[in-house]
């Protein structure tokens, strides 16, 4: 039994690495594009941190630079779902119906590989800013890494849910874009979460977007005090709801496809 579990995880990790490496290599091949997107990110962060440090001088520029580098780690990546849906609608519908998890694992880790260069640099920058400018304890950074992995898991389940709409209707790309516009705001990307009124933040703290967005910054700055019973409960509820919804959507979608003679 133990050997089986070890071998299962070993094969899974091997598969993930096999999907990750091609994405990593493609990004490395198109270095100039990767560098231009990184330059774009740096300029955007400079502008945003300048704007918000004027609006909120108490926290200061270093905090907002940290905020947006952390948000870049997967806060902007809800748009991965749009790319995946487009690919599904353009040809991989049957594979997606019969093996959605396999398909998603491949696409998700391939896209992670594409972004790996930038994400690695950004994690390093976050590490530097945390210690040199904000003097945050090392334990906060460790908690942040663990939390980042948990947020990737939640992101994966969210992408699985939203991309399952691809075999329900043709306009699923537009639907995903529309949902992402709302989530983009709730994550704390359009304006940082500190500007949210207390009642609004009280609502967003219970949504999964907080774990993908500003929650990561709060873990880094607050450390262990971020974690409370309500945080764990919110994470579990969101994970459970998204996972159940994705399972239901997949099952119904399969029946629908079979009924249509697929």
């Amino acid at each position: 039994m133990f050997t089986y579990i070890v071998s299962y995880f070993h094969n899974m990790i091997k598969r993930i690495v096999n999907y990750f490496i091609p994405g990593f290599k493609v990004a490395f091949e198109f270095k100039s594009l990767w560098l231009s997107y990184s330059l774009y990110d740096v300029i955007m962060i400079f502008i945003l941190s300048s704007v918000f440090s004027v609006l909120d001088p108490v926290r200061g520029r270093a905090y907002y630079i940290l905020y947006y580098f952390v948000m870049l780690l997967n806060g902007f990546s809800l748009w991965k779902s749009v790319r995946i849906i487009r690919d599904i609608r353009e040809g991989d519908l049957l594979i997606y119906l019969t093996k959605p998890m396999n398909y998603l694992v491949f696409r998700f880790f391939y896209l992670l590989g594409l972004d790996a260069h930038r994400h690695t640099s950004y994690i390093f920058i976050v590490f530097l800013i945390s210690f040199i400018f904000l003097h945050l304890p090392f334990i906060n950074f460790l908690l942040f890494i663990v939390f980042l992995l948990l947020s990737f898991l939640l992101e994966y389940v969210y992408i699985l849910t939203i991309t399952l709409f691809a075999f329900y209707f043709y306009e699923s790309v537009h639907f995903a874009k529309m949902v992402n516009i709302v989530l983009f705001f709730l994550q704390g990307v359009v304006i940082p979460s500190h500007f949210f009124p207390a009642w609004f933040k009280g609502i967003t703290d219970w949504l999964f977007v907080s774990f993908l967005g500003y929650g990561k910054v709060e873990v880094l700055t607050e450390g262990l005090s971020y974690f409370s019973y309500s945080t764990f409960l919110a994470y579990l509820i969101n994970f459970g709801v998204l996972a159940s919804l994705s399972y239901l959507l997949w099952k119904k979608g399969l029946k629908r496809f079979e009924a249509q003679g697929g």
Binding site: L39, V51, V54, H174, K177, V182, F184, V190, I191, F195
Partner: protein, 277 residues
Amino acid sequence: MLRGGAYSLKRIKEYIREVYKAYLSIFIIHVKEATEYKKATFIFYLSNILYAVSGIMAIYFVSISTDLFSPAIGSLLLFSSYLMFDLSKLLRCDRGVYSLKSLFFLYLPKPFPTPLLILPNLLNTLVLVGGELAIVIFIILFYFSSISPLNFILFFIFLLLGSIAFALIYNLMHFFSLSFFKQDNCPFCYLINELQDIFSKYPYDLFLSNKPLIFVVCLLLIPIYTYLPIKLFILSSLTDYLLFYIFLLYVFIIGVLVMACKLMYDHFLRVYETYGG
């Protein structure tokens, strides 16, 4: 110059006729598409409404947290920036749409070599422009009714010039990307879009003490297609001379951008022909 050659009156008239016919046929196709794909059209308009709502919420949350600017100015800035953005779509070189840009690029030897039916959708753009214009007029009449009608007219003139400038900057970045990165997805176009989006919410008056930011903002001409038309609109003590000089500055900037676009486009054509296009 007017008798013959690329800039003859006959050539200009033919060009305008060609553009008008192309525009009309594209518009009819887009109307048919909108009626055929009702769900997609509905979702498109709903996305834009949600986008505007998130912008208003951002302004409202920031203005109540900081008391640094009024929601009225913020809302006018937001919707006039969206209006400039959508007006510029009619002039922009978005992946080869054969649009009114031809009027500004009379030297184009042929239509841009890609299919006609690519975004932006002409019908949707005109609907958005109409909606945003109505909201801007409503905000002005409701919150700024004491300002003189002349300022009102000047505001729209500068708004139109701002959208032309934005379209030209966008085209310049687009041609740059096509020439040097050999691909259509222009990271600098995203940057310009995002910067226009950020400064569509926060008046640059707030950041005057931040010299590096103001330098970058002015270098990218951001005030021209965001806050400057509004600033000129609400300033009651502006003299005629100063307005005239600002108008000349706009015209000068647009002239420089047209020449820069021509140079970049010519370079792109040479690169395109080298690769067998």
